[in-house]
């Protein structure tokens, strides 16, 4: 049954973080009335590339009262029965094409009481499983593939132990948009500002695919306030520091810190990359920025927008805004003023595009992408503060992705106890003959939970890579006339 519900903005769990107090007006109201319980609501509906209707999932099903204090009890269960080790190993092994690729991979674990251990490495999937089930890490990070086994790095002559390869990664964090979103700030997110992530994913995925020719990009929800991208192509894994930095810079349009007012500056000619990115932003701009964020509504927001404009335009608009209050009309006028200026003045004036980009274009942290040895949170890791699992995002259903729908560890552990449905029982019978009892049970287990569909996304991704590898092998053997 599909229905849209009149949705309330969600409440995020309180955090003791370094951020300043969020000024999310409605949220503080809710917080005052609740005790640290996470309650979510359904998703807003937007018109996007495809017009779809949403399944509104109510709160109790997705979160089941997560409490950080229960992690020590939940984690052992998660790692013994739910974590998709087989797929995980399949991923990081990359078809076993390069010798010792999995064995030389660095993992780092954050254990209870903030104990952090680096340079973990494993010879086999089994060893990985045993170790994780023993240590029950709160957080798992993935690092680079080194020249030697990371857990033996102390025995290697200094200077010889080097990071050789790693996926090209990107980290988009909602905090970096604080100056342009009015609904939340800091670690908070809501369905309104989540659109920023949708836009970011669309723009970056297109660029990585079309411009750079990368075909295997895994997008993952970080568990709280952002998304990560893992570019797994062989060429990407072999990129140098300089190359990673160049890719990140190519993808950066919003530049400057607190001291910079105008963070996007466009000039002739407008590069095709910018044009393509603008196309994406335009699809979402009206609904997200004009309506949702109300950037041309309140005086404070309007002032911020006007600060980005040339003096003469600003004056004219201020006057015009005295009488015209409708944000869409205001924007249309702003836009046509830009177009007019372009036809008359010699230099290109792109301020309406600059505004759209400053408010919507993805902001990435170049430092995360640059380093070959940089450690990034692993997919299927748990986020200790929210309890949510870092799940892969299905790009075919991107507009329907709802971070508040993502299962928490408490939910999926609870789902484990539920009795099997009929179809699961049939499934079981089929698989009886195929595999070992233990594996069977593991396969069944996550499948019974809300985690299943996200593991499926991961499976599809892995299939894609395997397919490519096969293609490569065929191509090479053809080249060698090896029929």
């Amino acid at each position: 049954m599909n229905h849209n519900c009149g949705c309330q903005p969600p409440i995020n769990p309180t955090e003791e973080e370094e951020e300043e107090e969020g000024n999310s007006g409605q949220l503080s109201e809710f917080r005052a009335h609740s005790n640290v319980r996470q309650r979510t609501a359904g998703t807003f509906s937007y018109q996007h590339f495809r017009i779809n209707q949403y399944i509104c999932i109510t709160s109790e099903m997705t979160t089941a009262d997560y409490d950080q204090a229960s992690l020590p009890d939940l984690l052992p269960l998660y790692y013994r029965r739910l974590f998709p080790f087989s797929q995980y190993h399949r991923w990081l092994n990359y078809g076993g094409v390069t010798k010792n690729y999995f064995q030389n991979r660095e993992f780092s674990f954050t254990l209870k009481d903030d104990i952090y251990v680096r340079y973990q490495s494993f010879s086999t999937q089994n060893e990985l499983e045993k170790e994780m089930q023993k240590m029950n890490p709160y957080k798992i990070d993935i690092g680079a593939v080194y020249s030697h086994r990371p857990n033996q790095h102390n025995t290697v002559k200094s200077g010889s132990f080097q990071a050789l390869e790693k996926e090209l990664v990107f980290d988009i964090d909602m905090t970096d948009y604080d100056d342009v979103r009015s609904c939340c700030s800091g670690a908070d997110i809501c369905p309104k500002c989540w659109t920023l992530m949708t836009i970011a994913i669309r723009i970056l995925d297109r660029a990585l695919r079309d411009d750079f020719g990368f075909r295997h990009c895994l997008w993952v929800y970080s568990g709280r306030r952002g998304v990560h991208c893992w570019v797994c192509d062989e060429a990407a894994r072999k990129l140098s520091v300089a190359a990673r930095s160049a890719v990140a810079e190519y993808l950066s349009l919003v530049k400057g810190g607190d001291e910079t007012v105008r963070k996007v500056v466009l000039s002739d000619p407008i590069h095709p990359f910018i044009t393509e990115s603008l196309t994406v932003v335009e699809h979402y701009f009206s609904q997200y920025a004009l309506l949702g964020q109300d950037i041309l509504g309140s005086k404070e927001s309007v002032d911020k927008v006007l600060a980005l404009l040339p003096e003469d335009v600003r004056k004219k608009l201020l006057q015009y805004f005295q009488t015209e209050k409708n944000p869409e009309m205001r924007w249309d006028t702003l836009r046509s003023m830009a177009q007019d200026k372009r036809t008359t003045a010699k230099k290109g004036h792109y301020f309406e595009m600059e505004i759209m980009l400053q408010y919507c274009y993805p902001r990435l942290d170049v430092n995360v992408s640059k380093g070959v040895n940089h450690l990034l949170k692993s997919p299927f890791s748990v986020h200790p503060k929210t309890g949510r699992i870092s799940v892969p995002i299905d790009l075919r259903e991107l507009d329907r992705f709802d971070p508040f729908e993502v299962p928490t560890i408490s939910l999926i552990c609870e789902e484990l106890d539920q009795p099997k449905t009929e179809e699961e029982q049939d499934d079981t019978m089929e698989n009886e003959n195929k595999k070992e009892a233990g594996e069977r049970r593991k396969m069944r287990d996550y499948k019974r939970t809300s985690l299943a569909k996200y593991v499926k996304v991961f499976d599809n991704f892995l299939e894609g890579m395997a397919h490519s590898r096969k293609g490569e092998v065929l191509k090479n053997s053809d080249l060698q006339k090896d029929f």
Binding site: E16, D176, F212, V247, G256
Partner: protein, 518 residues
């Protein structure tokens, strides 16, 4: 890789012509002849002066602008390096005064390899050397007429594939909008090369080229960037190899002092050795920040006091600066903890998360590197600040409007402010900071050339007679050449022979004074 063979080798004229057939080279092959120690020294010092000039000009001027080229031209000819291609054709006709083209090219070749020995040892040295050699190469390559470019490409086996006329037509619009320099006629008239993006990173980084499917499409006129990348890769690999063979060379006692001196002369004033450790108390920091901090540090300090927090970039830049002005590790820990605790961080969390990195800065954790405070060059050029950051150079990274407001709030005179803004517009960030120094200390002319925030602090304290003035600048030197006894080597080369000790000391002193001025 072969190093200076001590065996005598006669090199015939025809061979040398082949070796130096082009005025520009990739330095693929090391020289295989004998040279005297004095030549060794002179060549090295001259090239180092050249590279230093390249560095200084590179910070103050845009690297491809006319002003830059003109200035570099002048320095080039003074130091007798090959640069103008016409000189080679003039060789036969007119009698040459001064070194011939051939001699200039030989000097270029040999001096490059000598400096490789001096600059291969640490990551920092390598990075610096590669950066200057690349800038130098770019300058010289841009100077080549197009026929010589073709020759050069062929000579060095760089094959990049051109795209068909049809493909050009299809991509016409995209090619034109991707680059300011490409017009319709460029597309029609020139060959376009399809190059893997990894070979054209500079163009990709600045988005000055059409990128599709992992390939960039480059007109023939822009091939220089590709060539530069190739050069950078080769040089980088070569330096790594050189480093491994270094022990053999360092065992030669004639070379060791000079090589050490060359590389340390660059590192010279790094403010990591201070004589005023512990002379500054924490209570003095607030007033000091208003009086003697350069603008970048004042901004960071202000940011820290206001929000009781700084992000990583800011913590590094400011933390190392504090170390440089003489704070001890304990003082630093106290300082940061007291500030962070006023914010959202409790003492426990501070100890867990932040204390480690402060100790790291002081070389007490990890691989125990004693990090040096950032120079102006580093602050200006690396790690630009983004949303929420306070680090960087305000003259470089702040909006001019905001910079103006800030200076006004610090009571700088309006005429002073416009002078500063002029300098900023001309990209003379360090000069702008120096102007700021002059205005805030009410002096007419600063006598020093600013290139380090700690230098600013030290000079200010000297002027005001404060506690931080006790910092003594030590130029690191492992061997004092003047005290080394001369080495009687059985393989004396004919010619000028070994330099008498006094002359050797003189040369190294000249080197010192040259760099002190910088």
């Amino acid at each position: 890789m072969q190093f200076y063979s001590r065996r005598k080798k006669l090199i015939g004229n025809s061979q040398t012509e082949q070796l130096y057939g082009h005025c520009l080279q990739f330095y693929g092959q090391p020289p295989i002849e004998n040279i005297s120690l004095s030549e060794f020294e002179t060549f090295a010092v001259d090239r180092l002066k050249l590279l230093k000039t390249v560095e200084n000009l590179g910070v103050s001027y845009v690297k491809t602008s006319e002003l830059y080229t003109k200035k570099l031209d002048a320095d080039f000819s003074n130091l007798n390096f090959p640069y103008k291609i016409e000189a080679s054709t003039k060789d036969d006709r007119k009698p040459q005064t001064g070194p011939s083209e051939y001699e200039k090219r030989r000097k270029d070749h040999i001096s490059h390899f000598i400096l490789r020995l001096a600059y291969c040892q640490t990551e920092d040295l390598r990075r610096w050397f590669i950066q200057q050699e690349i800038d130098l190469f770019r300058y010289r390559f841009n100077d080549l007429p197009s026929k010589n470019i073709q020759d050069f490409l062929q000579y060095n086996n760089l094959h990049y594939h051109t795209i068909s006329i049809d493909e050009k037509k299809n991509l016409m619009d995209k090619l034109i909008t991707s680059s300011f320099a490409v017009s319709g006629s460029t597309v029609e008239g020139q060959d376009f090369y399809k190059v893997p993006f990894q070979d054209a990173l500079d163009l990709v980084r600045t988005r000055k080229v059409y990128l599709n499917g992992g390939y960039v499409y480059i007109p023939h006129q822009d091939i220089v960037t590709i060539v530069l990348n190739d050069f950078r890769t080769r040089l980088s690999k070569a330096l790594a190899l050189t480093a491994r063979s270094l022990p053999a060379v360092q065992s030669d006692e004639r070379l060791q002092p000079l090589l050490n001196h060359l590389s340390h002369a660059y590192v010279g004033q790094d403010y990591s050795i201070q004589k005023s450790i512990g002379k500054i108390s924490l209570e003095q920091i607030d007033p000091l920040s208003a009086k003697s901090y350069p603008l970048c540090m004042r901004q960071l300090h202000r940011g820290l006091r206001d929000s009781h927090h700084l992000r990583h970039g800011g913590r590094m830049q400011y933390g190392l600066f504090l170390k440089g002005i003489g704070l001890t590790l304990d003082q630093a820990l106290q300082f940061w903890r007291s500030e962070f605790v006023k914010g959202k961080v409790d003492a426990d969390k501070f100890d867990k998360a932040y204390a480690y990195s402060i100790r790291h800065m002081f070389g007490k954790e990890g691989k125990r590197t004693d990090y040096t405070p950032y120079s102006c060059m580093k602050v200006i050029l690396s790690n630009p600040p983004s949303q929420g950051d306070q680090h960087g150079c305000p003259f470089r990274h702040s909006d001019p409007e905001l910079l103006k407001q800030k200076l006004q709030s610090y009571k700088v005179s309006p005429s002073g402010i416009s002078q500063i803004l002029e300098l900023v517009k001309g990209m003379h960030y360090q000069l702008a900071c120096q102007k700021y120094f002059e205005l805030t200390h009410s002096i007419e002319d600063s006598w020093f050339s600013l290139n380090h925030p700690n230098q600013y602090f030290m000079e200010s304290q000297k002027l005001l007679g404060g506690p931080g003035a006790g910092v003594k600048v030590e130029v690191k030197r492992e061997d004092n050449p003047a005290t080394k006894p001369p080495n009687p080597s059985p393989h004396q080369t004919p010619g000028p022979g070994n330099l008498p000790q006094e002359v050797a000391a003189e040369i190294t002193e000249d080197l010192d004074s040259f760099f002190q001025d910088a």
